[in-house]
Amino acid sequence: MPSHDVLVIGAGLAGQRAALAAAEQGVSVGIISKVHPVRSHSNAAQGGINAALNPGDSWESHAFDTIKGSDYLGDQDAIEIMTREAPEEILHLEHLGVTFHRNEEGKLGTRAFGGASAARTYYVADITGQAIMHVLYEQLMKYSEQIARYEEWFCTALAMDENDECCGIVTRNIADGSMELFQAKSVILATGGNGQVWQPTTNALICTGDGIAMAYRVGAKLMDMEMIQYHPTTLAGKGFLITEGARGEGAHLLNAKGERFMERYAPNKMELASRDVVSRAEQTEINEGRGFPDGTVALDITVVPKKRVHEALREIVLVGRDFAGVDITREPIHIKPGNHYTMGGVKTDVDGRTDIPGLYAAGETACVSVHGGNRLGANSLLDTLIFGRRSGVDAAARAKRIEGSRPSRKVLEAEEATIADIESRQKGSGRRISEIKRELGETMDAKVAVFRDEAGIQEALETVRRLQEEAKSAYIDDHGSVFNQDLVAAIELGYMLDNAESTCVAALERKESRGAQYRTDFPERNDEEWLKHIDLERTDDGPEISYSEVTITQWEPEARTY
């Protein structure tokens, strides 16, 4: 049985950072990813990473912006840690080789970003996530003796011992279909978000909420699952992301009449208000008939100097040209709000510990919570790195402290039986996986999106539960062992449905409007009753609801205007 002190599942920024941090503590580390690490979705983070590193800036200011952005649902102790440790982390990345943009003096330069009171976003053109992730992967290659890489291995379940502690995982080697039980003293989930539950989404096809579902299935609590971010600037239809950096560089949002409509919604911050605010403004314009016939508004980047566009927004030039047929340096591009980010996730403390000893979560999989009801742009990369590192360090410390127990082969056998069942279904025994996935995505985008109400969410929940039943008889075409993507998709569908159910239940429960959760039947924020987290725990009858307090250190909730 392969065994490591610390096993990391997922190799995006959070996973790679966790693996490197754990290895630095001198323990043996394995990192498992269902795709090659550099294919991970952290790549898509274009705009940058926040840190109060400039002499004129302060971590308190960064913390306050984050808290206000979160609509006061973020835990302030966690946000303090993240913003205090941010500058050190940026410098660490710079020392590892990230090619951050420089100012004229050759020092690190910044750009402006939404919801921030200072220009504190550090960046590499508009490929920041990609640049950081490729540099971390360079480090993984450098430390290949300390960190074993399992590239294109798919995790199907967590293994628990008699004391209800996590002691390993079950995986499938995608290349040959072999199943393997891994032993570990600590397991870190860093599998990203669940954007594929919505269609369209900016998220990659791999973002199917695997870690969230696996943790939930072994009894870990999920938190704030109703908080799903819709990004203000995505391409209609395909859902591709246009970075907030475009607005950071000065681009305008216009309705079909050519009005800069943000004047009416956020007169001070205009296009750079929080994402939930901008997305709602756009959706209101569209719903009230001031959008374009294709259900969009326009993002006008032509006001940004051309030289600056080529230097700082080149990826967007390519996206516009290749995927929308628009030269963004010459004409506005049509955009709309689109599914983008999972603020909720597996409930953890500030060291990535979940409710289950031995099980950690970091990055978008986790809910610490630093993002609360709405994540600020350029805080997600920061979250992955800070809490990836902290998880890695704590997971290594635990590994040094405990003996560890051997996972039972029963877990492996159960997974093998599940897979055998999926493989045994013959064509026509039920629906196709892809059909169920599409219905799920369209339902969630229609009912649990920017504007929500009880009837809609209830309808979505009923659909999800029907699809859960239908998934049990859904069939696949591929019955081979090598690169059976069909089988992986069937298991991912199960993960996605668990994610969707949790989001619907939490969205129904929160009877107020806060951050990304806007209930048209409860349009006001209600601190008296709802300044609290919604926690969910799995039971055979669906998620059981409980609440936990929001940690407030020094910033009392106030009305939120931009």
């Binding site: 550099v38 090619t99 951050f100 540099v135 290659m141 590239e151 591709f240 080149r314 390519l318 995927f323």
Partner: protein, 389 residues
Amino acid sequence: MADYTIKVRRFQPESGEGPYWEEFDVDLEPSLSVLDALLQAKDREDGSLAVRCSCRAAICGSCGMKINGQSGLGCKTQIGEAQELAEKQASATGGDAKDATVVIEPMGNMPVIKDLVTDMESTHWTKIRRVTPWLLPHGDPPEREYVVEPESMIDITQSMACIQCGACVSSCLSMEADPGFIGPAALAKAYRFVGDPRDAETVERLHDLAEDPHGIYDCTHCFSCIDACPKGVAPMDQIMRLRRKAGEAGIEDPNSGHAHERAFVKIIEKKGTLDEGLLLQESFAPGIKSKLKPSKRAIKELLGSIPTVLRAIRTGKARSPVKLIPGAHPKLPDGAQDEVKAIYEHAEAHREEFNLYIKGEEGDEEAAIEERLEPPRTHTLADEEAQNG
């Protein structure tokens, strides 16, 4: 919606059969991608069709493949354009454009695992690891950031834009001839460190890459990788930069490529057209006429070239022996040589690297000129009306 037929080269390793072609009918907007077409076939008809993919937006680098024989990303190639190309190719080879289908194959220069999934580990990633792909700074890091020229970071950002999709490797003609060639992707990665002022091992890296017989001089300058790259990394340009830096560092080039390039430039500057008689001599022993002291290597190379020269003359690739006598080459008529000189001077004055992060895409330059030429709008029609009115 439009109807397309895609023809996919398939390989199911567990079937015991060799590769085969299979056609799928799909219906989608022409602006959607070849990957969208493949996913539609997979979703609707055959879930066993294997293709790596994730972001659908040319960021993750998963879906490298050959489309109508050209290496690229499935997600970045529009199905409508792919169909047009297939039709053009069919007519050009005397076929019927009506029957043309979009042909999709796995990437080249790599073993195939299943359908469009290739083994990138044994080729691409092994080569990437060959170039010591991590920063090797000198001593402890500074307390704050390394202070470096802003341009140097933008310069290597072009190599950092590489998403490791393997399209350049797939298209590389040198690698086809020499599978040991380090190749375009790994060498572009190497430039990311050689060009990085924070790296302290630049010269060692250059020696390593220059002295490896499968290193930087193995590139034949064919431009295939530049055409294939979906991110404008221009791997060949990065290889040429490595060569230039190696030349500047005084590293001897076993092919004399760097000296050959300099000889070309020098002769054209002097004579306007290529004096082949001087080319060998200038490449291997520059200044031979005045010094009359060619190095041992120069003599060896010159003598060794004689059979090649004779063969070239016989087959008509080089000019007659008389014209090969040094000095017999005619100069350009009238003042044409001065115009050539002017071009050199202009190039010298505008010495800059071609980098997409600085210059933008092709055509932008002209657009910029157009903008400058456009007369400033001094008054509008409304003003005119107001004046007239």
